[in-house]
C-alpha cells in the first residue's frame, strides 16, 4: 500500500504541475499537554506530559472544474515530549484528496474525501509503523458566522513489530496493529473580528494501546501485549478494544491574513469491556501559518 501511494504521488506530480493549479504550503506548531499519556486506567500508572509538534504541509491544488479540486501533497511532522522521549517521533505522509463544492458562494456545502498514508518513526522503535486514513467530510456554512460539519473516518495502523517482546505466551505482540472508525461533528461561530469558537465531538470505535505496569485489569481485556520500553521501565502495553467519546472546545484567532493562533481543550472518555475505562484531557496551543 505504501509503495502504491508513493508511486501515485510520483507520477501524478508532473501531470498536476502542468494542470491549472497552485502550490499551497502550511506550517503548524503545537504545544500540547496530555494528562494521561499512557492511556492508563488507574492513577498508579497514569502521568501527564507536554509535547511540541511541528508539521509542514505542501499540496498541489488543482481545479479539475469549477467547484471541484484535487489536492495532492505531502507532510512532514515531528513531535518531541518533555519527559517521555521514547514517544518522540517523525512522520512523513502523502495525501490525496478531492473536494466538491455544491453551488456557488461561501454558503455552498462542500464534501471532501481524503486518503492519506503516513510513516511513523519513533525514537523508541517499538511503535514504528504505518498509519493510513480515509476521511469523508462535509462542511456547511449556514450564515456568515455559523458553520457546521461532520466527518466519518477509517484508520488503519500497522506496527512493524520490532522489539516486541512476549510478555504472556497466551497473547500476540501486535499491539500497534489497530483499526478505528471515527464519526465526528462540529459547530463553529465566527465573530466579526475573525475569532472562531468551535465545539466538536467525536466518537471512535476500534482499538488503542494502553500502558501500565503488569498486574492490572488491562490484561483481562487485552488483545495483544508487549513490553513497553518507550513509556517507562517495567511498563507493559496492551492492545485494547475501546469506544471513545471526545468533546472539544477551540478558540482560534487570526494574527495576520495568513497566520492564526488556536487554543483548545478536549476531554476523551474511553470504555473497554468489563467496565475497564480511562480518561484523557488534552490542552493545546497552536500557531498555523499558510505561505
Amino acid at each position: 500500500m505504501r509503495k502504491q501511494a508513493l508511486l501515485i504521488v510520483f507520477f501524478l506530480a508532473p501531470a498536476l504541475q502542468a494542470a491549472p493549479g497552485a502550490w499551497e504550503a502550511g506550517l503548524a506548531a503545537t504545544v500540547a499537554y496530555d494528562d494521561n499519556l499512557p492511556r492508563a486506567v488507574d492513577a498508579a500508572n497514569d502521568f501527564g506530559d507536554l509535547a511540541t509538534d511541528l508539521e509542514a504541509q505542501l499540496e498541489r491544488v488543482t481545479a479539475l472544474q469549477p467547484g471541484r479540486w484535487l489536492r495532492v501533497g505531502g507532510s512532514l511532522q515531528g513531535k518531541a515530549h518533555r519527559d517521555t522521549r521514547g514517544l518522540d517521533h517523525l512522520g512523513i505522509g502523502a495525501q490525496i484528496g478531492l473536494t466538491q463544492k455544491f453551488g456557488l458562494g461561501a454558503l455552498a456545502p462542500r464534501v471532501s474525501l481524503q486518503l492519506e498514508s503516513n510513516r511513523l518513526q519513533f525514537r523508541n522503535v517499538l511503535r514504528d509503523g504505518w498509519l493510513h486514513r480515509a476521511r469523508l467530510g462535509i462542511d456547511r456554512r449556514t450564515s456568515l458566522p455559523w458553520q457546521f460539519g461532520g466527518h466519518v473516518a477509517r484508520e488503519w495502523r500497522r506496527g512493524d513489530g520490532r522489539r516486541a517482546d512476549v510478555v504472556n505466551p497466551a497473547f500476540g505482540t501486535a499491539v500497534f496493529d489497530q483499526n478505528n472508525v471515527e464519526l465526528g461533528a462540529y459547530a463553529q461561530y465566527e465573530f466579526s473580528g475573525g475569532a472562531r469558537l468551535r465545539t466538536s465531538c467525536r466518537y471512535r470505535d476500534g482499538q488503542t494501546d494502553s500502558s501500565a505496569r503488569p498486574g492490572g485489569v488491562l490484561r483481562n481485556v487485552a488483545q495483544a501485549i508487549t513490553r513497553d520500553s518507550a513509556i517507562g521501565q517495567g511498563y507493559v502495553v496492551y492492545r485494547v478494544a475501546v469506544r471513545t467519546l471526545g468533546c472539544a472546545a477551540d478558540v482560534d484567532l487570526p494574527l495576520t491574513d495568513d497566520t492564526s493562533m488556536g487554543l483548545g481543550v478536549e476531554r476523551l472518555e474511553s470504555n473497554a469491556r468489563a467496565g475497564v475505562r480511562y480518561e484523557r484531557n488534552l490542552l493545546r496551543l497552536q500557531i498555523t501559518h499558510r505561505f
Partner: protein, 224 residues
Amino acid sequence: MPSRTHTSPLPVVLCLLAMQLFCGALANAGALEVTLVDKAGKPVADAVVEIVSPVVPLPANVPLTASMDQIDKEFVNPLLLVVVGTRVSFPNKDNIHHHVYSFSEAKTFELPLWTGNNTKSVLLDKPGVVVVGCNVHDWMQGHIYVAATQRMAKSDARGKLLIPNLPAGGYAFRIWHARLKASDISKLHNVVIEDRGNTAYPATLELGRDRRIRRAPSGLARDY
C-alpha cells in the same frame, strides 16, 4: 465695407461663444462636498454618493469599460464605480485559479478565471450594487456600484468626496455603503448647490458590523 482682418468671422464668433459658455458654466457651477463619519465620529471611507435628481443624460465620452483585478487572493480595487452600460473585466493576475461570481439583482454572473484567461467581461446593464465574490477564496469580496448617472463619487480615507461641475440649484442624492442599512440607502438627501465654491454636506452614518469571512487559516490539529 472692407474687413480689417483677413480672418473669417465665423470661427471667432464660435470661439467667443464657447468661451462664454465655458466661463458661464464655471461661474454658475458649484460642487457638492460630502463628509461622512460613523457614529463614533470616525471618517467613513468607501461610501458612494450618487445624485439622483435632477437626472442628466450620460455624456457621449463617458468610459464604458472597467476592470476589477485580483492580486494575492484579493480584489485590488474592491469598490468600483461605473455607469450603466459598462463592461467590466476581471483580470486574474495571480498564478492561481479564481472563480468570480455575483448573486446580486443588478447582475448575476459566474466567471471561472484560470490564469492567463482574462478576456471575459460582464455587461452591467442595470443600476444597482453588484456584490462580487470568489468561489475559491470565500474571503474575497468586492462591490461594483453601477450608477444611472455620472454624477457620483466615493469617499476617501478622510471620509470626504467631491462631485464637481454642478450648476447652482436644488439636488437630491443617495448615500450607499456596504454596511449601511437598506432603509438608510434608500433615503434621499436634499441639498442646494451654490453657484460657486463647494457646498458642504456633513452626514453621520449608522454602519452595521463588518461581517466578512476571515482569511487566516484554521489549525491543522491532529492527534495520532
